[in-house]
Symmetry: C2
């Protein structure tokens, strides 16, 4: 049995308010790490949005990857769901399962986690640590004004389909890591950053509360996630392939077909995909990174140009 | 790759509002399973209490145990932390990691889980399913009137120490399962029930909001959990061993010393341990199952009778 017990471990690595003077729990946290429950104050007239996201070693990340990057990515991937609901972050909990209390690993993991928490203004408010195969489960909590949450089910025929930034980066990053692709150093740096530190733009979600008719984050691949919107809304969609935003920095490293395929099905992009009535197009076009990629149509199919596409997103089992 | 994808799996086993007419999501759930986030309405003037509890196959339960019992126990263990804060349940999320989408296992697990959810009036509101070594992480959400949460840190010298029911049942159940003990059939039935379906009494926690000076649930063992209260409150404690409530049904199956040791250090009892000023004794004595076991004293030590005890609760690492 190692020297470090659960309580010391939590105290040392996951009680930021005690271990760092620069990191303060916000006022909405009545009780943070270290009691039976964490207790949060909710803003007035707000609803609570919650989402949990699990990452397993050997499935979602390499067990020997840099623990600070694993942590940064895990928290950002979880937080993406809050942005997709138009919610603002209140805090997160961490359920961490570890083969052993490796202090070197924990030091790096905790440092990446708490730094990301600060960047996202989403503090660690509680959690559980257990022994077992390496597994990270993060639950994020956010607030959204009552009735204003962005849902999947509101897309209407004639709405434009938008994405909040480049697609295919996640698949390209994976191809690079698995040496299925060679790129410039600049492209490698960009893809590394996009994979481990995907941008989470809560302010865009907030702005979309009164604009978007539906919204989802692109985690399983554009077609798979758009299919969720279509199924929940009872509509079909048509994507224009030329409109897909693909980062110029790596675009030329692969064929046009490959780049499009990654943008359509690759997953791990953590962009928002949303629909909005055409009257909002002028405003949306002015938002940096946001691009119209198609239109909601009648039916149940998703077309890319004129071809009916299969849903070929990432299957978890 | 098995036939059952993540989305079908969630739809079939973890979307109770669709699959059962007898199970309705309460009105406080604006959005349940099946969007990027679940969205909850909070009661007015209430704070949100949250706690996450992970159970790993081979560490916290046998991988070949009845999945419906694994589920029942996992949810009850997590819910225990809500009761210990004086919170009332709003709902829970499930992060389930599974080696494969075994439909027989899932059917039983889901049935035990949803039945327990109904018993506790704590509905499933969201979650994540992933592939990997069997691991169950449950986060419970409750509401407590602002400022009324029961904390660990309020015990004062002279307060009585109370527990909400028999202790040592968890350790005895484990001894029975591991064939380190033989008992009557009645005792075996009782211990089985206590292990897999520990009583969670939210109403006691609610009642204690205006009575208890501190509260914790007994999950790691009485001494270990009382030590959390003592450390957080800056006090010591003295327990009278004769006052420890031990179930008569199995008490005679082991020596008095063994029974007391299990009651003091055994863990897995999921009773509440709380402190209260002596003026509340008369009321508390009338509450079924509740028993005074000692008193808060000056200092930092925990004494049992006159002996200073080591903190010997379950160490997670």
């Amino acid at each position: 049995m190692p020297a470090l017990g659960e309580f010391e471990l939590i105290q040392r690595y996951f009680t930021p308010s005690l271990s760092s003077t620069s990191y303060k729990l916000p006022e909405n946290i009545s009780i943070g790490v270290g009691d039976d429950c964490a207790v949060l104050k909710m803003p007035a007239n707000a609803e609570l949005a919650i989402s949990v996201d699990t990452q397993v070693a050997g499935v979602h990340f390499h067990a020997d990857a840099d623990p600070s990057l694993i942590a940064a990515r895990a928290l950002r991937c979880a937080a993406s769901d809050l942005a997709a609901m138009g919610a603002e972050p209140l805090g997160f909990t961490l359920a961490l399962t570890l083969p052993s209390a490796d202090e070197n690993w924990l030091e790096k993991f905790s440092s990446g986690l708490l730094q990301t928490a600060q960047q996202l203004r989403c503090p660690l408010i509680g959690g559980d640590t257990t022994r077992g195969p390496l597994c990270i489960s993060i639950q994020v909590h956010g607030s959204v004004p009552s009735g204003k949450a962005l849902r999947r089910g509101g897309a209407k025929t004639g709405d434009d389909i938008w994405v909040s930034g480049t697609l295919g980066d996640g698949a390209a990053a994976l191809a690079l890591m698995e040496k299925r692709m060679t790129t410039s150093n600049a492209a490698a740096d960009y893809l590394w950053q996009r994979f481990y530190h995907p941008d989470i733009d809560f302010s865009l979600g907030v702005r979309l509360r009164d604009i978007a008719s539906s919204c989802i984050d692109v985690s399983d691949g554009l077609l798979a996630d758009l299919d969720h919107i279509c199924k929940a809304s009872g509509v079909g969609a048509r994507i224009e392939s030329v409109a897909l935003p693909i980062a110029t920095v790596w675009h030329d490293s692969v064929s046009v077909e490959q780049a499009q395929q990654w943008a359509l099905t690759g997953g791990d992009d953590y962009r928002l995909c949303f629909t909005a009535a055409p009257q909002h197009a002028i405003v949306l076009q002015s938002v940096q990174g946001v691009r119209c990629i198609g239109r909601i149509v009648e039916g149940v199919d998703i077309l890319v140009d004129d071809a009916k596409m299969m849903n070929s997103g990432f299957r978890h089992f």
